[in-house]
């Protein structure tokens, strides 16, 4: 995995790790909201591209969040 993608994977997983510990059933929504609020579009695009390439290393919660983000609103 290229270093830049590896870094995005780590950052996304860190966010998921936090929200995973929070109560309720909104964890995936929270991760999605966090990514949408703080990640610049090219970072999100790179993350989506990595998901499309198999999403190696990404936590299930990140994958769920990305799924939500990409749903047409």
């Amino acid at each position: 995995m290229p270093a830049d993608v590896q870094k995005l994977v780590r950052m996304a997983n860190q966010i998921a790790t936090f929200f995973d510990t929070q109560p309720g059933d909104t964890q995936a929504a929270e991760v999605a909201a966090h990514l949408k609020s703080f990640w610049e579009p090219r970072m999100l695009q790179a993350l989506y591209a990595h998901v499309d390439a198999g999403g190696a290393g990404l936590s299930p919660l990140v994958l769920q969040a990305v799924g939500r983000l990409r749903e047409p609103v």
């Binding site: 870094k7 780590r10 860190q14 790790t17 929070q22 109560p23 966090h34 703080f38 610049e40």
Partner: protein, 973 residues
Amino acid sequence: MKDFIIPGLDGAPAFSDRDYGTPERHSQKMVTLTIDGFEVSVPEGTSVMRASNTLGITIPKLCATDNMEAWGSCRLCAVEIEGRRGTPASCTTPVTPGMVVHTQTAKLQKLRKGVMELYISDHPLDCLTCAANGDCELQDMAGAVGLRDVRYEAPADGGFQNHFLRKDASGAPNPEWLPKDDSNPYFTYDPAKCIVCSRCVRACEEVQGTFALTIEGRGFDSRVSAGMAGDTFLSSDCVSCGACVQACPTATLQEKSVIELGTPDRKVVTTCAYCGVGCSFEAEMKGDTVVRMTPWKHGKANRGHSCVKGRFAWGYATHKDRILDPMIRESINDPWEVVTWDEAITFAATKLRGIQAKYGVRAIGGITSSRCTNEETFLVQKMIRSVFGNNNTDTCARVCHSPTGYGLGRAFGTSAGTQDFDSVEHTDVVIVIGANPTDGHPVFASRLKKRLRQGAKLIVIDPRRIDLVRSAHIEASHHLPLRPGTNVAVVTALAHVIVTEGLYNEAFIRERCDWDEFLHYAEFVSQGRHSPEAIALLTGVDPQELRAAARLFARGGNGAIYYGLGVTEHSQGSTTVMGIANLAMLTGNIGRPGVGVNPLRGQNNVQGSCDMGSFPHELPGYRHVSQDTTREIFEKLWGAVLDKEPGLRIPNMLDAAVEGTFKGLYVQGEDILQSDPDTKHVSAGLAAMECVIVQDLFLNETANYAHVFLPGSTFLEKDGTFTNAERRINRVRRVMMPKNGYADWEVTMLLANAMGAGWTYTHPSQVMDEIAATTPTFAGVSYEFLEEKGSVQWPCNELHPEGTPIMHVDGFVRGKGRFIVTEYVATEERTGPRFPLLLTTGRILSQYNVGAQTRRTDNVAWHAEDRLEIHPHDAEVRGIKEGDWVRLASRAGETSLRALITDRVSPGVVYTTFHHPDTQANVITTDFSDWATNCPEYKVTAVQVALTNGPSDWQVDYGRQADLSRRILPAAE
């Protein structure tokens, strides 16, 4: 400067310089008395001297001054009180109801004259050539009491004792005469002029709290003495805050700048440009030359006190290294070419627009400065959003307090400290976590220490034994020396004890917080795995100490938490901030004086730069760029369409640069190459860009990779405002014209206009008006308002017309306070066989941040190099002795510096500062960062330390590259 202003009478200014002689008392009970026939009412406990001053009647005095308690030694302030015998000292005599005081009678006149005659008999009469001439209270008092004659003279046969003659009348050396001590770079101590009033000693104790000075000897042998026998001022514990110099009524302690330049002729109130305390100063001027900076007694952050940086370290403003002309170059391998402003701005604007044409609108961005004013920061983000057309704006708060913004925003609903600095005067228990106030925020530390000496209790949570743990007349009740990286575990364990032992404030939580969230949180922290015993191995903290600390905080009265970058600069920085908010809510310590959550901000305007919309996701006033209604406010005023997607943060910009999608950067007053982590990654990012514009006072490290250099201006050269850690908006006032020709806001405007902005500001007050018009929390702020009030703490608007000293008084900004579960997650940065030690970083009193300013002052007398603190055990097993060169290596890089062996750090932990570019501590730090904000994890790096011969190859190469990069072509004639 003499003062004939009578406060309270017509035409008197609100901010009088009058010295009331003794401190203000705050009793609700008023006492009425008569002084010289005039009736006056003052709070109970007030001295006769102060009461008299409130009437405008000045009683002669030498040992009294109103920022310290009365001492009663000079005997000059004697008064007569009807019905009392003798002539009591007015400074030590409290008022009583119906008291009738006479401050001027024949008896008093004679008495005072006699006292002054004795003083002057042991004082040299070289007034005309004395540095204090015109600013000497002894001289003033001799005049005030009508001293005309001194009858005591040295006898011709010698042997008569005095302190000021080098030789007696017989020509023999005077054993009582001592030479001047000019070891301190900023002031001198001349024992010959001392009248032993003890003001310096008391200032050191009461105001600064260092206790470096004492009076040695008794009676005629009494001498002011710094440190131990044989010490000079420089070698003693003196921290050079200058409180003693300010307190000295004679030329005994005198600023060297005054000795050189003479007395100032005007004073301008302004705000210090160093740390986040934001002290108010009077710049004392002659023409456009600063003679000295003295802390302003009406400054509400500092209450008349200062540290060595603010008072003395302003010489960088006129340092020869300052670059005053714009420079450009095509490639960073070329030497710099000096050009006109027009050429430089056109070059920069053309490059930036060219990059956007080629790589897209989002291929450029900028970094606002936390050292520049609110107005300047506002304009930089405005330029990026409305002229560059994207949200790629960030600020150095990214690398310091961004987790504070995120964490407090989630818990309370707003990103700011909850208190004013005065609040500490009402605190009973203080937790200091991840901060070293005596070095980083010295004036706040002095105010805290004063409260601790009055009996407040202290808990320190820090890997190092910082000075607050134990120093003169203060001692922490508990020091929890945790392993770097385990803040969340410790804070959660404190909550565990408070919840499981039933020490929480249920009434507060029920009223002010979401009860269901509390219940869930309580269940979480109550789990056995969060107990102090369960985490002891992980954190290295003694469970009994931790339990005792939790009990003390929960049950000790008003509890306040002060924290710094030791909290935020971690993978879990934001989580710890939320944990701190939890502790404050659990114990009901929010919404009144003496309590609260108080981030100690690093740079002078970190708070302001965050408020002003420097972050890529937030417009001014912490409103997300995705909010249509907020964008509309600015779009309408600015006449531009704003991007609704968040921009790149600093680390993301560098990543994108390395990837090739980010090509141009405007950096105002920041040195990211030295201050940001993982230097190699930063330099790779900068080197990959096609246009880096650096606006700074000096050719800083980042400028090694710049194509355009725009000279910046100092805080002395411009108007504006800074917002300190207590949300206080303070005026910065121009005392001299910009040596580079333009204030920084004007430079930004030149660049913006060259890119088509069409801005027409002629004064920063117009920018503040724009801020007020667009940002609800600043709605009531204007320069006129600040002129009248001195300063104001935001929110300042219709709801809070006088500003907001304390936040969340009747409820949280977000409504109900929110308890957030704080699970400890170990950082991925771990020790192992290759890197067995943990490095943590910090700062030192005499230097500031990357040192660009302080290294260009005489402050280098205290800290000429960064040192590596290492525990004796770790040093011994590596064969390292004090002062040895050691190689410090992490997986990111390596550097060399000299060792300082100390048990301040625990075994397994090493520590250094990052003030010197030769050391480049950040070549060691990694690219790990806070999960929520990307704030870098400066405070935890796994390292190895070994003996070496000198600077590393990397340092040598870096130095060579820096030298090459700083070449400037000689101007063509």
